[in-house]
């Protein structure tokens, strides 16, 4: 089996719109959460959200390219532009070498809802414009980016709720391991407009700590009251190891383990058993023991039930080793379809710069999470092997293990 490494990263998020800004935020424990008044007006329980700036692409992309891109597609474009540049890949390379794309996305609500509103008003589908269909489909990110970057390899979107981005990297790893592709653009994108999260807000899953936005997302804390939705996009360039070496590419790390599982149970409640199975499979895939892991980037979103189940699973596998754990979602909020990819970017930055980003707002762990070694303040520490968890609605679980080389 071939080895798979990451040779480029890019990110556009509420804690920074490039890798350096994000590294600084992670180290400083800076939170990107704020208030969106439009949500209150629309009927949300909570106006809290990650505040993600919209990129200005006029002058960068043609009209045709821009009008087919929805919000999450714009984020994915700028993150991918950064990642390709970081990997030393230009359009000349892409036109002459087969490159694939596997990207996580699980909604494009705004485009769908706005099309509906036009039809209700005008009673004529010909007035929707030519971009509506390309913005509305779940595969909007991969169809747009493959066109813009002239990609000719594997081309599809992975929709797996809040583990979409992570599964994308796991599946990209499988394609490269099997020798089917030398390079794949992987990542995850998440829209942040107020139309996209109303039904999730309706589940009473979001924090309502509106008087303290910066303290609203508090994974593992006893007084957490829900997650804060967020978004943006993160892109990683996955590459076959020998191919990367021949190019003289800079290698952030190797993907040595991918584990997946499905709970086969409740549609929204997580499972400690399913979570543990994904982690165990990732360890087995990497040929490692739990004691080999230097750091766990937890999925923990700041929901009462979700964090507890993950804490149980982590404690069962890693409790004896007091493995350092943190969830970066206290800073970023829950980046949903993007989270599994962005948290690999966060973890790679921690590995590269030898620190553990803090699990901010952890003031008092609950009865289960007090068993874990949760890093509440930034810790300078050399990291060689790290695990990242992602879990989603429907019980879809993914765990990835990264190794510094």
């Amino acid at each position: 089996m071939k080895r798979v490494v990451i040779t480029g990263i890019g990110i556009h998020s509420c804690i920074g719109t490039n890798v350096e800004e994000v590294r600084e935020s992670l180290y400083a424990g800076k939170c990107g959460i704020g208030i969106d008044p439009a949500r209150t007006e629309y009927g949300y329980r909570s106006p809290l959200t990650g505040i993600v700036p919209r990129p200005e692409l006029k002058g960068t992309l043609s009209r045709r390219q821009r009008i087919c891109l929805p919000e999450e597609g714009e984020y994915a474009y700028v993150a991918t532009e950064q990642a390709l540049k970081d990997a030393g890949i230009d359009m000349d390379y892409l036109e002459n070498n087969e490159t694939g794309i596997l990207y996580g996305n699980d909604s494009s609500s705004k485009a769908v809802i706005e099309s509906h509103e036009i039809c209700v008003e005008k009673k004529d589908t010909t007035l929707l414009g030519s971009g509506a269909i390309f913005q509305s489909m779940n595969s909007t990110v991969t169809m747009n980016l493959s066109t813009i970057f002239k990609l000719r390899g594997i081309n599809m979107t992975i929709s797996a709720a809040c583990s979409s981005g992570s599964h994308t990297i796991g599946l990209g790893t499988m394609f490269i391991r099997l020798g089917l592709q030398d390079m794949i653009v992987c990542g995850g994108a998440q829209e942040t407009n107020y139309l996209s999260m109303a039904s999730f807000d309706g589940l009473n899953a979001f924090s309502t700590r509106v008087d303290e936005p910066l303290k609203s997302s508090r994974p593992f804390d006893k007084n957490r009251d829900g997650l804060v939705p967020s978004g943006g996009a993160a892109t990683l360039i996955l590459e076959e190891y020998e191919h990367a070496m021949k190019r003289g590419a800079t290698i952030y790390g190797e993907i040595i383990g991918y584990g997946f599982s499905s709970n086969g149970a409740h549609i929204s409640q997580p499972s400690d058993r399913g979570s543990a199975m994904a982690m165990e499979r990732a360890l087995a895939d990497a040929g490692l023991k739990p004691s080999d892991i230097d750091y766990i980037n937890a999925h923990a979103t700041s929901t009462v039930i979700g964090d507890s189940y993950e804490a149980m699973a982590i404690d069962r596998l890693f409790g004896a080793y007091k493995t350092p754990v943190s969830s970066t979602k206290g800073m970023t909020g829950h980046e949903c379809w993007m989270a599994g990819a962005s948290e690999i970017v966060y973890t790679l930055l921690m590995m590269k710069h030898s620190f553990i980003a803090p699990n901010i707002n952890l003031e008092e762990p609950d009865d289960i999470s007090k068993n874990l070694n949760i890093i509440a303040k930034t810790l300078d520490k050399k990291l060689d092997i790290c695990l990242s968890n992602s879990f989603g609605f429907g019980g879809t679980n993914s765990a990835l293990i990264l190794k510094k080389i």
Binding site: R63, I67, K122, D124, T126, L127, L128, G129, S130
Partner: protein, 82 residues
């Protein structure tokens, strides 16, 4: 609305919304070959015509519209007919 006013509105939305180069907007210019307007762009032209002139383009009436001048003629004809 006279011919010059129609030309001004059409040219303006071709430049602003369809992003056609202003220098290319000559009466004899072919919509497809010279201005680069493809079938997807035409879908957007239907939308901007409705926004600017208040009527919808009927595709069957556009089959003989090949040049910009013919497009002005078509718009002018539709306005006069209402």
């Amino acid at each position: 609305m006279n011919r010059n006013e129609i030309k001004e509105i059409v040219n303006n939305f071709l430049i602003e919304d369809i992003e056609v180069e202003a220098d290319a907007l000559k009466d004899e210019a072919f919509l497809k070959e010279d201005l680069g307007i493809d079938s997807l762009d035409f879908v957007d032209i239907v939308v901007v015509v409705e926004q600017n002139f208040g009527f919808k383009i009927k595709p069957e009436e556009m089959t003989n519209v090949k040049t910009l001048s013919q497009f002005y003629d078509y718009i002018e004809g539709r306005i006069k007919a209402t």
